[in-house]
Symmetry: C2
Subunit: 393 residues, 2 copies
């Protein structure tokens, strides 16, 4: 059987406040790292897919894929940019995978990047709000933190989740990020910081019940992977990581229109599709990078993606099952919460982490015995979701 | 042999100054027309690919594909947006075609749209200039008209092209647009208007040697096609139009870096690739929609895409060979020049015109005897190009 498209190399920039670096600098740096890691010259590339969400606004650039091809000396090849809000990274990997699956040639570079620290937090929050419903949500000030807060309240009431559980996600992911050299937030935090007597100062309310440490930071950053068809992958890398399955689905754009506003139907459908496509079942997943733009989302997605039963995600978290040494480690990279969340880079960074984890190259944060990995990258507030199952087979 | 992906339906909005219509309205209208033309319900769709270049800036919208899926009642399916500057339309068709070629299911909606009339011409020209080189061109004021003017000068000197030839392109394409109900400019012009004693008033210089009528207008508009795999296409339409070949290539982003600044190497490479992919030769092309953002580009692309020998495009034009009744009709729709050029819609509108022409549905502007059609959609000032060969086989 023909093998599936495979990742043969990966690279990342530091995530954080990358002062002095523009969008193109970030894309170039991530690309160069992935190319050098596999000793692939830019002139060998057969295609470039760039993931970026906000380039027109933050960086005054159109067709950033063409600009990147030029900048790294890889002309004369197809170069495209894909935008799907915060799910842009997985969308670009999907396009590249389809290119290979239809019989196209590799190696293909997929790079996601975002320059977000171009304005004050308020202006950036407004920019990101462009993914909400343009008439039903955006004009009412339904920013992502506001939507996440309502979602958290519903989910907490339904399943008996306490604020302590949200804090556990933050503490775990900050802990993981301490061992990730590329992470934005390298700041150990404790349950006492988030819940103790100084918590109103350290962890102030942003949108009740969510507090400062429940939200991912505003980060610049880039991440890149190099894909080839599965059959030639072995000539580029010793342990290529195959993309075994891809799923994508959409839901009502406005949360208020959904049958169950506390569910993430697009996430469930996308994950189901990726499991079917790959033949891998949720119980076989050994490591997962999930879209924890807010702490509540890690818990909710872990259930919607089938890793735990509905309402049991916070119990598994409480038992330590999602820690690096646990049964099913979630966000060993630190996740969006602590590694950072440069919109266009996030989906690619998730794939980079799974690539490193499955190959045993995650150093201090290495999970044990994972054969299959899952990424779940979400757009809007759950209006679009892309799931991928990876494995070394 | 398995057939190639095929277009089974098409639809367009009016192109022009669509006051009161927002980007999403435009995308919905074009989509609905294509769906209704083939009696396909939105719930039957298996995927949506949106082409749009400037939505973040002009319309404050991210992930417009998700918003569109929601708006037309087509949830639970993959929905992506592709951006490749003025070549975005063909880029979205390419993604959809790859989806089908890798074994994905149709019908798939591809819709391109742009809301451009949101500011004064000067501000729009600045927006479009984001496709030029961010450091070598943009800060020097190298707008598209400026780059086109230098390109025209070089090409005119090399091949003995006169201003009369540029005017002939404008007159021909305005004439064609009069017979296209969707065209932006429905304004008959004559050689005397453009060259006669009142020409300085009617056709003032914009960037020497280019004048007002050498540039495409700033248009709002949308265009949509529905694709299926070739084998099931017959169940949706009587004469499906197959996408027989696709080619894409890039060149140096800054014109000044190119070995020959008067050549369009990416266009040549993309067209060559599309001919190879399709097995169709340039001499078999019976109708072509070429990226005439400026009149000189129609002449140049007609040569670079192999329809005429180098330096002979203006001679073929002079002989009337590119008119609707000519040997190889170019831009029977009116082209970008007169149908209009809403960035994200253009590549899709080119495919719509070829679909109608090959099926004999182009009414007053119908070309005769065309079996194969070519679209050539360009990004930047020739830094990216996508070519497609279509046919009823």
């Amino acid at each position: 059987m023909t093998k599936r498209p495979a990742i043969v190399s990966a690279g990342m920039t530091q995530f954080g406040n990358l002062q002095g670096k523009q969008l193109l600098d970030i894309l170039i740096e991530a690309s160069t790292k992935a190319l050098e890691a596999a000793k692939i010259s830019p002139s060998e590339l057969r295609g470039i897919y760039v993931s970026n969400a906000l380039g027109e606004v933050t960086s005054k650039i159109l067709s950033s894929s063409t600009a990147l091809a030029d900048a790294i000396g890889a002309k004369g090849l197809p170069a495209e940019r894909v935008e799907n809000g915060p799910a842009s990274g997985s969308a670009a990997i999907r396009y590249a995978a389809f290119d290979l699956l239809r019989g196209g040639r590799g190696p293909i570079l997929v790079v996601g990047g975002e320059k977000m620290r171009v304005a004050e937090t308020e202006a950036i929050t407004d920019l990101i709000s462009m993914i909400s419903h343009p008439t039903a949500e955006y004009p009412s000030g339904a920013t992502m933190p506001a939507l996440a807060a309502m979602f958290a309240r519903l989910r907490m009431e339904r399943y008996g989740i306490k604020y302590e559980h949200l804090a556990m996600v933050a503490v775990k992911n900050h802990q993981n990020a301490l061992k990730n050299p590329y992470a934005h937030l390298k700041k150990p935090i404790t349950m006492d910081d988030l819940l103790g007597k100084d918590s109103n100062r350290i962890n102030p309310v942003v949108a009740e019940p969510l507090r400062l440490y429940d939200a991912s930071p505003i980060s610049d950053g880039g991440a890149a992977v190099i894909l080839t068809d599965g059959d030639s992958a072995a000539s580029y890398a010793e342990k290529p990581v195959e993309i075994l399955g891809i799923g994508e689905s959409t839901d009502y754009l406005a949360v208020q229109d959904r049958e169950d506003p506390a569910a993430l139907k697009a996430v469930r459908d996308a994950a189901d599709m990726a499991y079917r496509d790959s033949g891998v079942s949720p119980s076989e997943i050994g490591v997962a990078e999930l879209h924890d733009a807010f702490t509540i989302l890690e818990i909710a997605i872990s259930e919607e993606a089938g890793l735990f039963k509905p309402g049991e995600g916070h119990l598994a978290l409480e038992r330590g099952e999602t820690q690096i040494a646990g049964r099913i480690p979630i966000n060993p990279s630190g996740g969006l919460k602590a590694r950072g969340h440069p919109l266009g880079a996030t989906g690619v960074a998730q794939a980079v982490e799974v690539f490193w984890q499955l190959r045993g190259e995650a150093y201090g944060r290495q999970v044990k015995g994972a054969r299959y990995g899952l990424t779940l990258n979400m757009g809007g507030f759950g209006s679009n979701a892309i799931a991928m199952v990876f494995g070394i087979v």
